[in-house]
Structure formats: structure tokens, C-alpha cells
Symmetry: C2
Subunit: 334 residues, 2 copies
DNA sequence: TTGAAAGCGCTAACAG
DNA sequence: CTGTTAGCGCTTTCAA
């Protein structure tokens, strides 16, 4: 007949013939306990019906071991790949990963005001979401270490992507290949709560062309919703013009696939008759043999974690703004 | 200059010029504190924004429920799509989503023994990971509602995929199309910590062929690591045989892309000279116009959440085992 | 891999 | 009324 009081690690320790340290270890980092002892302790825990007191844990623990990630609702593969980098880096350290998804401007606002207060987090990563001055101030005031990805703010650390440069790189590459009639295809999904890096890519692209004295006629700038089918349609229109482009810079890989499909259906040879350059270098770009601008998606996540953790360790450190390099990956489509 | 670390009663005590005892008393039995001191302490408390630590934690854990997801480290797109279904369903219900990724058998064991204890979770979803009797028992004993996806266990609710049936469907479809020399291509990634549904698909596939009296020669069963390039190589070998198959059932869409690539490079016409059927119906299958077995990935996540939440609400409910239907999506490759 | 011992933030005696 | 001090159950160095 076990005692009346709820069992503590001390009871478990005695029961299993080990020290309380080992029991604690068993609970928190079981892999650091010998398989043998582990079984004994597990048995003791079961036998006594032991449940750790959350309150006592909270007391004894330094931080909460929780990192929050606020991300647009992951419909686009690129978020997922960033997230993958984050998850990887985080699970290596022993942090819990809490995900908040955003699907509206209100939800973002609401998260941004509640999370720092009640989120009980050690740190926060915000993916591809706009943070205004008030938000940033609140984050700073609450002493919640935060790293922004893809949307810089002077008061918070960030990992940035140089979308303008990316667009420029695409332009330069296609020009070098001898193209003169070059079109741009981007997406129309401009939710107020999210960013639109695609616009930046267009800016850079236009710059690149201008520097070479090439026009980008309005008819060659097309937008389509972020879906394969819709993009395919728009691409087909573009390719059916009397004077169609000989190259298209598609601002996202995913849409580039739609363009390739349109070309296939119209029996247009890629890259002979049409060059296609994408952006992102998603996993699937390799399959499609898509020439594309590689941005280090996984790496951006890992880096964000690294910056965040160092900030958590020494809060006095100044904010860092890292710009990840872009690379053009030459494959078969251009 | 707000503090960086959450303030403790020590901070408050110093700030108010009293001892920690008095602060503690102020919080628990305010009437036993002098009106004068009380005011000073009160002032200090909200000057510092003091919140008792345990309480802060409790509050964070209480209001919004927490659902944990244990998933293999998401390298495969199929996990991501399941996760997407989960995230969607969960954020609608105002639940917090905590992600634990597994990259080894030890890590899985470790999570399975620590998470129920210290996770502070209201429910748990385990994706495509093997749960043995001891694990299941612990989960049940701790009263942590759990739903398994893709790996059933009698004592826990689950959402299952009928991989055997899927393999059979693929076989039947190809047979109906008149194929007789049909090959199988699966992946070799058999981490001990994860499952291998692909084997089940092969079993079903073989059954389907046998029922029609068709042989599946060993030379037509090929495995390749889960990567486009490696799969492409193996497929190329297969297609370069003296008597190559006229159809290939590729057990994962992602690898099917590799097969298609091999066919392209060898100038083998799909579907005229080679039929290809995939499995999963990932987003990218649509792009590739891949005929494939559709499993409801997003839906499996949503469903898991639904079952879990209903289990949380009424813990007495018996466990449910739902088998999601599979559908063959006919596109261009077979 | 393990244990001793020093905290963690807080409460509860016990004097004053 | 207030401060000192000894725990509470648990985590986390640091040696061994």
C-alpha cells in the first residue's frame, strides 16, 4: 500500500535504487540513462504512479525550453523548407517547437500581442510576416528574443533574402544567354497579412534589364494565382502572343512548373525555344531540371535558430541582420 | 528599461525594500500585511510586471490547449502534407501545436517516455512511427489521449492507410490496361525508428498480380534510396534490361518523378512505351501529370485531430480505428 | 553513466 | 506585522 501523499522523485529513486538525479534525468533526457537503469526507473514510476509536479519543475528550470514560430499558414513549400531547418536545429538543442499559423491580418495582430505575454516562450521566430514598429517595440519591451526571417526590422535581428538581387541575377543570366524578349511571371496572392517578396524580385529583374537597355513591356509582366493550373493558363496566353517571349523569369519555382507544363502542351521546346528560370530552388526544382535562383531555405531556418539561441544566452548582444547569399543553379531549362 | 528575465519575488522585495516573506504574504494573505507596505509592494509588483512563475506557466498551459505531434524528421513531402492538415484543423480550434521531430530510434524512445510526463499536453498525435505495447500502455496509463497515424495499435485510436490495398489497386489498374511485364520500385530507407509502408504496398501489388496469374520476377522488384537521382539510376537500369517492363508501379510519388526522368533521358515515351503509377498524390503529382494512388494526406491529419479532440472531450469513448480510402487518380502517365 | 550538492522561486514555521 | 530560515520537489552543475 503506497503512502497517501503523491510520490516524488525521491520515492521513485528509493524504489529504483538510484539517486534522484538519475530519476530526473530519466524524465528529461532518457537517452542519457543506461538502458538497464532506465527500465528499473520506468518500472518504479509506473508502480508508484508518479507524475512530476509541473510547478516544481517550473521553479527549478531556467527557461521554459520553448521556442515559438509564427508562420503563414504553410501552403507554400518554401515555408515548409524553412521550417524544416528550424525544426532540425531546434531538436538538436533540446527545445520545444511551438507553431502558430497565421491566415489573416487579425490573427497575426492577435498573436503578436498575446504571444509575448502568455506564450511563455524563450524566444520567437517570425517567418515572412510583416512586423511594424509597434509590434517590434512590444517584443523588445517584453524582453522576448525574436528573429525575423525575410522581413527585416531595425530593432530586431533578422535573416534576410535579397530578393531584388535575385531578380537582377535572373535578368543578367538570361541576357547573357542572348535573350532579348524576356517576360516575368509572378503570383497574385497578396494577402495583407503576408509579404510579397515576388514584387521585390520583379523590381530587381526590371533593374537588371534596364541596365542592359532592355525594355520590359507591360504585356510581358504577368501575374497568376499561386497554383499550377492558373499559372499554366497565364503562361499559355503569354506564349500564344504574336511575338512571344523567348525567356520567362518565374518568380517562384512552384509556378515555374506551371509554365513548363504550358510549354509542353504547346509543344514549345525548353530550353531551345523557351528559357525558364525559377526562384527558390525547392526540392522539386531538381526533378524538373529547373534552372533557378537558389535561396538557402533550410539554412535560413537553421541560421535563425542560431541567432535566436545566442540572443537568448546573452540578451545584451546587439541585433544582427544577416543576408543570405543567392546562387543561380544552372540546370536544363535555361 | 523593462527587465529581460521575468522578475521574481526577490526583485519585488528589493524594489519595495522588504523581505521576500512579506512579498509572498502579500500575494497569499494580503490582509496580514500592513496597509503601508502593501501599497509599496503592490507598486513594485506592477512596476516590474511581476507574475509568479508557476502561475505564469500554468496559465500558459491552461487557457489554450496543447497538442503534441511526434513526427519523423520531415524530409519526405508526405509528412509535411499530413502536418498541414493537422495545423489547419488545430488552428481553427485554437490549439497550440507542439512539434517533436524524431531522427533516431533512441530519440523516439526518449520522447515516448518523457513527453507524456513533462509535455503538459492535452493530446498527442504520432505520425508514421512504430509504437510498441509498452509505449501504448504508458500512454494509456497516463491518460494522454493519443491518435496514431499510419501505424495502428489495438489500444490507441488510429488513422490507417491500407497500403496493401493500394498496391493491389495499382496492380489491377495496370493489368486492366493490358500490361503483363510490370515492375515495382520502392525505397530502401528503412530507418529502424520509422515505418515502411512501402513494403506493404509491395505485398498488395504482388497479390494483385498473382490473382491474375502474373509473375513478379525478382529482377522486376527494385529498391532505391529516397532521392530523385538514385531512383533515376535504378529506373534506368530497369529500363535498359533486354526485356524491360512495360509498366512500373513506383511506391512513392517522389520517386516516380525519378522514374519519369529516366524515361525522358532514355527517350522512352510515357505512357505509350512505359506506364508509370505512383503512390501518395503529392501536390507535385499534378504537375507531373502522374497517375497515382491518392491517399488523403491532408485529410489524414485533419481526421486525426478530429478523433483526438473528441477523445479529449469524452475520454470514456472507445478507441477508433479509421481506415482512409484510397483512390486511383488517372492522369497522363498510365 | 552516475551521484553529491548547490540552487530554482516560493511557502511555511518560528522568532521577534 | 515582519524577517530569518528551513524546507518543497525538481534541475543542473561538477566530479568521480
Amino acid at each position: 500500500m503506497p503512502p497517501n501523499k503523491p510520490p516524488t522523485i525521491y520515492d521513485v529513486a528509493r524504489h529504483a535504487g538510484v539517486s534522484i538525479t538519475t530519476v530526473s534525468r530519466m524524465i528529461n533526457t532518457p537517452d542519457k540513462v543506461n538502458g538497464d537503469t532506465r527500465v528499473r526507473i520506468l518500472a518504479a514510476i509506473d508502480a508508484l504512479g508518479f507524475v512530476p509536479k509541473a510547478e516544481a519543475r517550473a521553479r527549478a528550470m531556467r527557461g521554459t525550453g520553448r521556442i515559438g514560430v509564427i508562420s503563414p499558414f504553410f501552403t507554400a513549400p518554401s515555408f515548409v523548407q524553412r521550417l524544416r531547418g528550424i525544426a532540425e536545429a531546434l531538436s538538436a538543442k533540446k527545445f520545444e517547437l511551438v507553431i502558430y499559423t497565421v491566415d489573416s491580418a487579425e490573427r497575426l495582430k492577435s498573436l503578436l500581442s498575446s504571444v509575448p505575454l502568455t506564450g511563455n516562450l524563450d524566444g520567437l521566430i517570425i517567418l515572412s510576416l510583416p512586423v511594424d514598429d509597434a509590434d517590434a517595440r512590444r517584443l523588445v519591451d517584453h524582453g522576448l528574443p525574436t528573429v525575423l526571417v525575410e522581413f527585416p526590422h531595425p530593432n530586431l535581428s533578422s535573416v534576410e533574402i535579397d530578393d531584388v538581387m535575385g531578380g537582377r541575377m535572373a535578368a543578367q543570366y538570361l541576357l547573357k544567354k542572348g535573350h532579348r524578349r524576356i517576360a516575368f511571371l509572378g503570383d497574385t496572392d497578396l494577402p495583407e497579412y503576408s509579404l510579397h517578396p515576388v514584387s521585390q524580385r520583379l523590381v530587381g529583374f526590371r533593374q537588371g534589364l534596364q541596365e542592359a537597355g532592355i525594355e520590359l513591356p507591360d504585356a510581358f509582366v504577368r501575374l497568376a494565382p499561386y497554383s499550377q493550373e492558373q499559372t499554366r493558363k497565364v503562361a499559355a496566353e503569354l506564349l500564344s502572343m504574336p511575338q512571344p517571349p523567348t525567356a520567362i523569369f518565374v518568380a517562384t519555382d512552384f509556378q515555374a512548373l506551371g509554365v513548363l507544363k504550358a510549354a509542353r502542351q504547346l509543344k514549345i521546346q525548353v530550353p531551345e525555344q523557351l528559357a525558364v528560370v525559377g526562384f527558390d530552388d525547392l526540392d522539386l526544382a531538381e526533378y524538373a531540371d529547373l534552372t533557378t535562383i537558389h535561396q538557402h531555405l533550410d539554412e535560413s531556418g537553421r541560421l535563425a535558430v542560431e541567432i535566436l539561441l545566442s540572443q537568448i544566452e546573452s540578451p545584451s548582444r546587439p541585433t544582427r541582420h544577416v543576408k543570405l547569399p543567392l546562387t543561380l543553379i544552372e540546370r536544363q531549362t535555361a
